[in-house]
Amino acid sequence: MATVRLSFSPAPVHVRTARLVGVAVARRAGVDEALLDEVRLAIGEACTRAVALHRQYGLTELVTVEMSDSGSYTVRVIDHAPIEASIGLTKLPPDELAAESLTEDDLTTGVGFALLAGFVDDLQVRPVEDGPGTEVRMVWPVTRR
């Protein structure tokens, strides 16, 4: 079992770093090469969401990404925003996507969740156990050891 933990200040520039590390660990863990684009996108979306929430609430605390390859490849992205901020996560129907009333931020949130749900078969969004915050937990199969 190997675990890699990465914490970064909630700035957009660091999301790319999290993607790069997440894919590197996935590759080493033995996640199928064909899945790595999806792993990259999903980790990016989860981190983008966490950064957006921290900025929305003026939080300077670090966002944490924890990667574990025990049996499967599990990635947990942990934010510290109030839990009610997660309630807005919903997939938007096509006819609402280009509606004038929808703000770009709301569209991005809805689309981001659609991508997470579409690319990650094993996805859980749940409150963190200690203090405010949400954990986005994503699991991918490992095919090569």
């Binding site: 957009p12 520039v13 999301v15 790319r16 993607r19 684009d37 990259r40 996108l41 990016g44 979306e45 983008t48 950064v51 957006a52 938007l92 129907p93 096509p94 996507l97 280009a98 004038e100 770009e104 931020d105 569209l107 991005t108 949130t109 689309v111 981001g112 659609a114 991508l115 579409g118 690319f119």
Partner: protein
């Protein structure tokens, strides 16, 4: 790879070639460029995504914003994309039903090719 942006004119259309990674960090630059183009009078805009290596929800939000801006300005907006990983992103988000998507710049810039920005 860093975001790259280059503009050219093809058959009366303004074609914005985008390369590299479009994400939460770089998408604001794409948004600014698209706003500049519309403010400068561009009305038939095509965004060529062929050299894009990564596109996330923030980038998609910027593209929808441009579509709406051109719709308001009575213009047209189309995308060029033939890469399957990117096309899958448009399908999963249902944005393939929102954007006119063409396999080549030539197809996107044919007269009446893009149709009204709907």
């Amino acid at each position: 790879m860093e975001l790259s942006l280059a503009t050219r004119t093809v058959a009366g259309h303004t074609v914005l070639e985008v390369g590299g990674e479009v994400d939460v960090y770089t998408a604001p630059r794409l948004r600014e460029r698209l706003i500049e183009l519309v403010d400068a009078g561009a009305r038939d805009v095509v965004v060529d995504l062929e050299r894009v290596e990564f596109l996330d929800s923030t980038g998609l939000g910027v593209l929808v914003g441009a579509l709406k801006r051109l719709r308001t300005a009575q213009g047209t907006f189309g995308l060029v994309c033939a890469k399957e990983p990117l096309l899958k992103i448009f399908r999963i988000t249902a944005l393939d039903q929102v954007f006119p998507i063409f396999p080549t710049v030539e197809a996107a810039t044919e007269r009446d090719g893009t149709g009204p920005a709907s």
